[in-house]
């Protein structure tokens, strides 16, 4: 049982190393900044979900933890919403950071 788990963890670790190499290599493509941001963030989200799902056992977690995390994401979205509203509602001339 634990031997199977160990193989899974090694597989996840190797995938994370590979994706780190891909992230760094993608920088050399000289793609536009918007595309570069999309590629880097998509890889980071995939790597993060691997860590959360397998190393942190979220793939087989209890319902209480899912409710807790969904509540956190909900509150986080509200926080971002307030920040974005604040950004839109500023005087001309204050919209740029020196």
């Amino acid at each position: 049982m634990m031997q199977k788990e160990s193989k899974k963890y090694i597989g996840v670790g190797l995938t994370l190393f590979l994706l780190t190499a891909v992230t760094v290599a993608a920088r050399q493509l000289n793609a536009g900044i918007a595309l570069a941001i999309c590629i880097a963030l998509m890889i980071a989200i995939f790597k993060g979900s691997l860590v959360a799902s397998f190393f942190m056992h979220l793939a087989s977690e209890k319902k209480a933890i899912y409710i807790l995390l969904l509540s956190t994401i909900f509150l986080f979205i509200i926080m971002i919403g307030f920040i974005l509203i604040g950004r839109v509602n500023v005087y001309e001339g204050l919209s740029h950071v020196p």
Binding site: M2, E5, S6, Y9, I10, V12, G13, L16, F17, T20, T23, V24, R27, I33, A36, I37, A40, L41, I43, A44, K47, G48, V51, A52, F55, M56, K62, K63, A64, I65, L68, L69, S71, T72, L75, F76, M79, I80, I83, R87, S95, H96, V97, P98
Partner: protein
């Protein structure tokens, strides 16, 4: 009677032992903390007239090296927990020892090869918005790594005595320490491309 209930046995209502629910509550607060700082980064970058590419000020090879170090430490941390599940304290000590050494290496690279040379070149947080958010995000992350080292060092040393009396409770403690450690790794997985590559 135990002073603190549900340290091993899961509660009927949540299906979790208390420590596991506790660490996830703590991690939820950490998501809000780092989330707020990531949002700050986005707002500052969107509002900036000019924003330097991270690679023009930071060392990508050092950032990549530190990413590999943290991922490796996450793997050794999970194997420390697996070792206890396999009832091997010796293997646990080896894996936990590696985890601590890798974390110290991460801090060493950050401090001696990144921060101090930057200060020598007069790159301070006050110099630009990019450097301000770089030092804030990486500094806070480094403090989290240091906190993880202290906890893991305790469980590697004096805290490991619990294995003799309450092995299941000790295994749960390592699982909790591991959850924190993987979260620290997860934050760096986002920090590295955002600060160094974009």
């Amino acid at each position: 009677m135990d002073a603190i209930p549900y340290t091993i046995k899961p509660r009927e209502d949540t299906g979790l032992y208390n420590g596991r629910l506790g660490i996830w509550l703590f991690l939820a607060s950490e998501i809000m903390l780092f989330g707020a700082l990531f949002s700050t980064y986005v707002i500052l970058r969107l509002g900036a007239l000019e924003w330097p590419r991270g690679a023009s000020l930071l060392s990508v090879p050092l950032g990549t090296f530190n990413t590999v170090i943290l991922i490796t430490s996450s793997v050794t941390m999970v194997f420390a927990w697996v070792s206890l599940k396999e009832r091997s304290l010796g293997k646990y000590k080896r894996y936990m020892g590696f985890t601590i050494l890798l974390a110290l290496l991460f801090i060493g690279v950050k401090l001696f090869l990144e921060y101090i040379p930057k200060f020598h070149h007069h790159h301070y947080p006050s110099q630009s918005t990019f450097l301000a958010i770089y030092f804030t995000l990486t500094g806070l992350h480094a403090l989290h790594v240091l906190g993880g080292v202290l906890v893991n060092a305790y469980f590697w040393g004096p805290g490991a005595k619990m294995w003799k009396t309450e092995p299941e409770r000790f295994t749960n403690r390592i699982e909790i320490a591991g959850l924190y450690w993987h979260f620290v790794d997860l934050v760096w997985i986002f920090l590295f491309p955002v600060l160094y590559l974009l």
